[in-house]
């Protein structure tokens, strides 16, 4: 196979219900979008099915694919469903209950029946070792081989299939952890043993320990999956390497992902934001609130030029210390069920009809009215359904479900549907606004970019309540995560905990610390063995005022690094965020961070064109119920829209992966990249 005929890039996002397959022709920017049902047992089979369809329907062979990157929920599902490996844990004597005590705080208030948390490794599979280092590295209790091996043997006897080691202060003084690991591997050469200082050397023993334990918990399953995927895709004719997306919005080789699967946990939502940011950069609008609305949840993120990161993410009830794209999930979606409480007040959610039985209109046995049923009854969603007719809508079933609820409210099905959408919008609003406040953002300064199956359907209703200036709907909003996979860069994070007051820190120490991190970063990139168009490093530090407990991440400008400069950068940043800075107050440097980015080849923005499907239907119209009255809404076909086209609500735009609803009061223009750009009419 010659390099010349390998002219496609493939991005795949494996979700709970569908596996999204997005193919891009490198020269033309032409996109092919497919949604294939996911396979929970064998996630890779959906990818193979996607490859088959590309061949059968579009005549594109797997061998023509030059780049393949994908994201999977396998890791996060294994963790959430508590279905992982039997991890054994070695701790410092006295700290056996590191996983049991957590950080104490329970995530839900006012719940006397909050379930008792269960540790990923039960107490019987945690063993203490007689060893102790002080915070300055002094050996308080030396480590002994016989003691370590006795503990390891005990864990193996208790059924541990891999061992995580987390000793106090190893983030800075890893000697004991490394020694223990070496001794254990001498006796158990085939055992998967991971030291917490290898994986993520940051201060805070519980969170650091958890990174290692989760890695062991999901690792075996992930490695098996990656091996199977490579095997099956090779047999299907794929001749390129495979990449996996990461929680930080980047990609890494599947070999690297097998070693550090914990880095993939939040990759799904991260990819969507990467895709959204890509669109934003393309059109020169880089202040975005991204809104990914699916069946059960709404994920939001704020992109203000840069991809936003957080180190305070959680999965289930587990904190995850690794930097991940800052995405907040809201428990509302197209599947949210509408109901009346005992006082007769209309509620929407938090329960969702999910994929099974799903909304009544999906005809899979659901009888409860959902948000999607409300769209259907109001004429917002196409009666022909989505996915080129593969997912039909049964509007009569939706109407029947709404009629039952409506009778109790004394309202028609249309009025009921309208009320459901108003309540659902208010629900999302109430969750979204505090999330924006946490980030210090005023919605009015941003554009709202919608994706996911229901995002484009609901986005204008939400934009109206938020007083937002602009709404964006990209060409393939149902597959934006897959687009994110396709355009993501190689990206890896490295950390060292310094925890030193600036006045005690020498320039050489600081420089040495960053030199070490940069060395690790460049080694990592070399190991990925990918031709990148550009490499750059983002150096930053988490810094706080001495005596305060709020830290700020300060990204270094392109200037020489010194302790003096660091102080100046912190004060400047602090003033920008909080409006004032006390420049006489001493500061403390907590974490030193380096992120390396290997920029992958990108499609040419100017060439990017959505794939025009054959058999486009002409524009038509149908009745839509809007705020209590029937109006005639234009029905447009997305594939037929061209740059410069312009229309006003009420209108719906039907497309393969979603339906866009534009209420009265908005005008939409199609921009040069086929995005729909909605603005309020004055």
């Amino acid at each position: 196979m010659s390099q010349k005929s390998m002219r496609y890039r493939l991005g795949v996002d494996i979700g709970g219900t569908f596996t999204d397959v997005l193919l891009m022709e490198e020269d033309s920017g032409r996109l092919v979008a497919l949604k294939v049902p996911s396979n929970r047992q064998n996630p890779e089979d959906a990818i193979i099915a996607g490859l088959d369809q590309l061949d059968a329907r579009h005549g594109i062979a797997a061998s023509e694919i030059a780049y393949f990157s994908h994201g999977t929920t396998l890791g996060v599902n294994t963790l959430l469903e508590r279905d992982g490996a039997e991890v054994g844990l070695l701790t410092t004597r006295g700290f056996r209950d590191i996983l049991e005590l957590r950080r104490l705080r329970l995530p839900k208030a006012n719940d006397l029946f909050f379930p008792r948390p269960r540790a990923l490794a039960p107490r019987r599979r945690v063993a203490e070792v007689d060893e102790r280092l002080a915070q300055d590295g002094e050996v308080v209790v030396p480590i002994r081989r016989d003691d370590v091996l006795a503990a390891a043997r005990h864990l193996v006897a208790q059924g541990a299939s891999n061992i995580a080691i987390c000793f106090l202060h190893s983030y800075r003084f890893p000697a004991h952890e490394q020694q223990a690991k070496t001794w254990i591997l001498e006796e158990f050469p085939d055992l998967y043993v991971i030291a917490s200082s290898d994986l993520w050397p940051q201060q805070r023993e519980y969170e650091r320990c958890l990174v290692s334990v989760i890695n062991g918990y999901i690792g075996a399953r992930m490695r098996t999956y990656f091996d199977t995927l490579e095997d099956k895709t090779k047999r299907a004719g794929l001749a390129t390497r495979i990449f996996s997306t990461k929680s930080n919005g980047g990609v890494m080789s599947v070999e690297a992902a097998g070693e550090r699967p914990v880095e993939t946990l939040l990759s799904g939502p991260a990819s969507g934001v990467i895709g959204a940011a890509f669109i934003g950069r393309m059109i020169g609008d880089e202040r975005l609130i991204t809104l990914d609305m699916g069946g059960t949840s709404v994920d939001i993120a704020v992109v203000d030029g840069e991809i936003p990161y957080s180190t305070e993410n959680t999965i289930g009830d587990f904190p995850v210390l690794l930097p991940a794209v800052d995405v907040s999930a809201i428990g509302a979606g197209g599947g949210s069920v509408a109901w009346l409480d005992a006082e007769g007040v209309l509620k929407v959610g938090p329960r969702s009809a999910g994929a099974r039985p799903g909304p009544a209109c999906y005809g899979r046995g659901g009888t409860e009215p959902t948000v999607t049923d409300a769209y259907a009854v109001l004429g917002i969603m196409a009666p022909g359904g989505l996915l080129g007719g593969e997912m039909k809508l049964d509007i009569d079933k939706a109407r029947a479900a709404l009629a039952t609820l409506g009778e109790r409210l004394g309202k028609t099905p249309e009025e009921t549907a309208d009320a459901i959408l108003q309540v659902a919008t208010a629900n999302i609003y109430a969750e979204l606004v505090p999330q924006l406040a946490r980030r210090g953002v005023d919605a009015g300064d941003f554009s709202l970019l919608a994706y996911g199956a229901a995002g484009p359907t609901h986005v204008f209703m939400l934009a109206r309540e938020l007083n937002m200036r602009r709404v964006l709907v990209p060409p393939t909003p149902g597959l934006l995560c897959a687009l994110g996979c396709l355009v993501a860069d190689l990206r890896a994070d490295f950390v060292r905990s310094l925890w030193q007051d600036a006045r005690d820190l020498a320039d050489e120490t600081l420089a040495g610390c960053y030199a070490t991190l940069e060395g690790e970063a460049r080694d990592w990139l070399d190991k990925q063995q990918v031709d990148v168009t550009e490499t750059y490093l983002i150096r930053s530090a988490d810094i706080c005022y001495v005596g305060q407990s709020f830290e700020l991440n300060v990204v270094f400008p392109d200037e020489p690094l010194s302790v003096e400069a660091l102080q100046r950068w912190f004060h400047d940043r602090y003033e920008l965020v909080y409006g004032f800075a006390d420049r006489s107050n001493p500061i403390r440097i907590l974490e030193a961070r380096v992120q390396i980015v290997g920029v992958t080849r990108k499609p040419n923005f100017d060439d990017l064109r959505p794939f025009a499907t054959a058999g486009d239907k002409p524009a038509s119209s149908r009745p839509i119920y809007e705020q209590g009255r029937a109006v005639t809404g234009a029905v447009l076909q997305r594939a037929a829209l061209r740059p410069g086209d312009r229309f006003r609500g009420p209108a719906v735009v039907e497309q393969y992966d979603t339906t866009v609803y534009v209420p009265e009061g908005f005008e939409v223009t199609v921009d040069d990249w086929f995005n729909l750009v909605g603005e309020r009419l004055k």
Binding site: R105, E207, L346, A437, W499
Partner: protein, 671 residues
């Protein structure tokens, strides 16, 4: 009757968004440890009449729905203008809105065309507001004047203009002036955010709809609360428990409740509760109906029954309270309040104890009852300065629940405290070595659902003059009770030099000075068990044995479960032993509450009628006389009981008369 049941849900959501956004704006700009780590702040919206109509369920202190703002509103009278911001921390002038001086409240009226629509309202717990000790709170303080500067309700801003004279006067009286002003500015940022959002809402929906919505959301919550309360069988339920004030020389302080449920309401009569004390344990509730520091347990119960319940003051309207003036939970003016949390938690336990008699399948067994923060101050030998840090929050396990075991190491009530990473603590305090931070094995009460275990913190100092303080330490005498056949949890302990020649359990700590090389081990309480331990599946007990939550001995003695670590669970022997244990009960019903031998012995000496008699006879006395007579009666009765005499309720008037015979002047001269 609520007319618009769709508009209600929409407005309710919008109000919720405003309080959550206000809380976030406050949190983001505040800087002190109290706010970040213990979430000790709050943001709510308040009706013109002084009721909380929207409160955050996610951020900050989560019990604010019962905070009574009516007296604070009245205190400002008609002098309320656009741009004003009010401030107070005074429990007495606000009728129990403030409950100790460290909580500073700031609030702002919001107008539409000159008409008052509502208030945005915030508070922060300040690290220090002056007074006799750093941090302002000491258990042994006995009058409010020792606890810091007191600010009666007054204006901080007059129509947008800051009163700098007043501000300076306030701040100069505190030890942490800069931080305090920083936190006040954070409150002001929150208030401004809320004002802007309420005005947007007024523009969107109009003032009539908003004002009606404020009324409706509270009526809605009240209707929901009344409906849930109506599911509880009508009746009278009694319960009492004791605050352990022995550390401050006040013995055991009884909290006594008669709970009457009927007509969708709960009447809580606290007659028989101990008089206020000369220590910082008094809770200034002013006997306000639904007062937030009294009803935590009930609000948690409502929210557990109905997770989507509207969260505002309507919830607490059906909770009527009667507390005699002069008791520890309704003290007369001038008392000290700093450590009122212990008292509040005890009231919560007592209400849960009473309510659970009506709905036993809806409430947990008693939890550790302790919400203490262990502080250490260490001299820096080089500079001579003192470094202060939190070692860990000292909380114990939850009680067993009718649906699940108790949570180990923390409580489902007061569940927002975070622990401190050992690595961080040792970095901040290099003279300390944490030797152990773990669960406390075998400390949860046995039951069908096991009580959550306590925890253990053990550390060593290598410098002299290492000073330890803690407040709100509770349950070192009487353990958390077991429920419906469950056995009690365990009491807390404090061992100085546990591995030395002379280990001593020093119990609750006021102030403790450690010397170089000293080791301190603190064990917190395990929660009470729920249900019959013999009904816990043997396999589940065995899992607990393998994970060492439960010892082999406890498994055998309390659960009737037999086995060895080598051969595993012995099912046959377990069946046999359980059969024998059941037979030995001889048909006796399971204990509704198991308070443990110490408290049972105390009850035998001091039956409820005797407590009631002392309370009743001292109730109407002037304050000082009531306190001294009450203590003297307890001392006298204890003396007689120790001497083997019997004392009954009928003897109390006679004892009081004997005590009252006037002392003679000049007694000291004759000594």
């Amino acid at each position: 009757m609520i007319e618009d049941k769709i508009g209600l849900e929409i407005l309710s959501n919008r109000f919720q968004a405003i309080v959550d956004e206000m809380a976030q704006a406050l949190f983001r700009t505040a800087h002190t440890v109290f706010i970040k780590e213990t979430q000790d702040y709050g943001a709510v919206l308040v009706s013109p009449g002084g009721e909380v109509f929207a409160a955050s369920r996610r951020y900050g202190v989560l019990m604010m729905v019962g905070m009574p703002m009516d007296d604070a509103v009245k205190a400002m009278g008609d002098d309320v203008r656009e741009g004003d911001i009010f401030m107070t921390n005074d429990p007495e002038a606000t009728g129990g809105m403030c409950t100790h001086l460290n909580d500073i409240f700031l609030w702002k009226p919001i107008f539409h065309d000159g008409k008052l629509i509502c208030y945005a309202w915030t508070f922060v717990h300040m690290s220090d507001v002056g007074g006799r000790v750093p941090g302002s709170i000491a258990p042994s303080s006995h009058e409010i004047y020792q606890e810091g500067i007191r600010v009666p309700p007054q204006k901080l801003f007059h129509q947008g203009r800051l009163d700098e004279t007043f501000l300076k006067m306030f701040l100069v009286n505190t030890r942490t002036a800069d931080q305090n002003w920083g936190d006040m500015k954070a409150c002001i940022a929150g208030l401004s955010t809320a004002e802007r959002r309420v005005k947007e809402l007024l523009g969107r929906f109009g003032p009539e709809k908003i004002s009606q919505g404020i009324v409706d959301v509270m009526d809605y919550a009240e209707t929901q609360a009344r409906r849930v309360i109506s599911t509880v069988p009508d009746g009278v339920y009694r319960f009492s428990d004791f605050i352990e004030a022995d550390m401050v020389g006040q013995g055991l302080l009884r909290v006594n409740l008669k709970l009457t449920i009927g007509g969708g309401e709960m009447h809580m009569d606290f007659t028989g509760t101990a008089p206020q004390v000369r220590a910082a344990l008094n809770l200034p509730s002013f006997s306000k109906d639904g007062h937030w520091m009294l009803i935590t347990g009930v609000v948690n119960w409502l929210c557990t029954r109905e997770p989507g319940i509207a969260y505002n003051a309507g919830l607490v309207r059906p909770m009527k309270v009667h507390i005699p003036r002069g008791t520890i939970i309704n003290p007369e003016a001038g008392a000290a309040y700093g450590g009122r949390y212990s008292t509040s938690h005890k009231v919560c336990d007592v209400i849960i104890g009473a309510l659970s008699q009506a709905v036993p399948d809806q409430l947990p067994a008693t939890d550790s009852g302790q919400g203490s923060i262990l502080l250490v101050s260490v001299p820096d030998m080089a500079t001579g300065e003192t470094r202060v840090s939190v070692v860990q929050p000292l909380v114990g396990g939850s009680g067993g629940r009718p649906v699940d075991d108790g949570v180990d190491g923390t409580m489902v009530i007061l569940n927002f405290l975070k622990n401190v990473p050992t690595e961080l603590l040792e970095h901040e305090m290099p003279n300390l070595l944490i030797r152990r931070y773990s669960l406390r094995d075998d400390s949860g009460g046995a039951g069908r659902y096991r009580g959550g275990t306590g925890s253990i913190v053990e550390f060593e100092t290598n410098v002299p003059f290492t000073t330890i303080t803690a407040r709100n330490m509770e349950r070192y005498l009487f353990p958390p009770a077991g429920r419906k056949g469950g056995t009690p949890g365990t009491t807390g302990y404090t061992l100085l030099n546990p591995d030395g020649d002379d280990p001593r359990d020093i119990g609750k700590i006021d102030i403790l000075e450690m010397d170089a090389g000293d080791v301190l081990r603190l064990g917190t309480q395990g929660g009470g068990g729920y249900g019959d331990p013999l009904e816990r599946p043997a396999a589940t007990v065995w899992e607990d044995v393998l994970d060492e939550y439960v010892s082999l001995d406890t498994a055998r003695e309390k659960y009737g479960v037999v086995g060895t670590l080598k051969d595993g669970l012995d099912r046959a022997a377990t069946e046999a032993l359980r059969g024998k244990m059941r037979a030995a009960r001889d048909g006796a019903p399971l204990k509704e509450f198991d308070f443990g031998p110490a408290r049972d012995a105390y009850h035998a000496r001091w039956p409820a009628a005797l407590h009631d008699a002392v309370s009743e006879i001292t109730q109407d006395m002037p304050r000082v006389q009531r306190q001294t007579s009450y203590r003297a009666l307890y001392a006298e009765i204890d003396r007689r009981l120790d001497a083997g005499e019997t004392v009954s309720a009928a003897d109390v008037p006679g004892l009081l008369a004997a005590l009252r015979s006037p002392g003679r002047r000049g007694a000291s001269a004759r000594r």
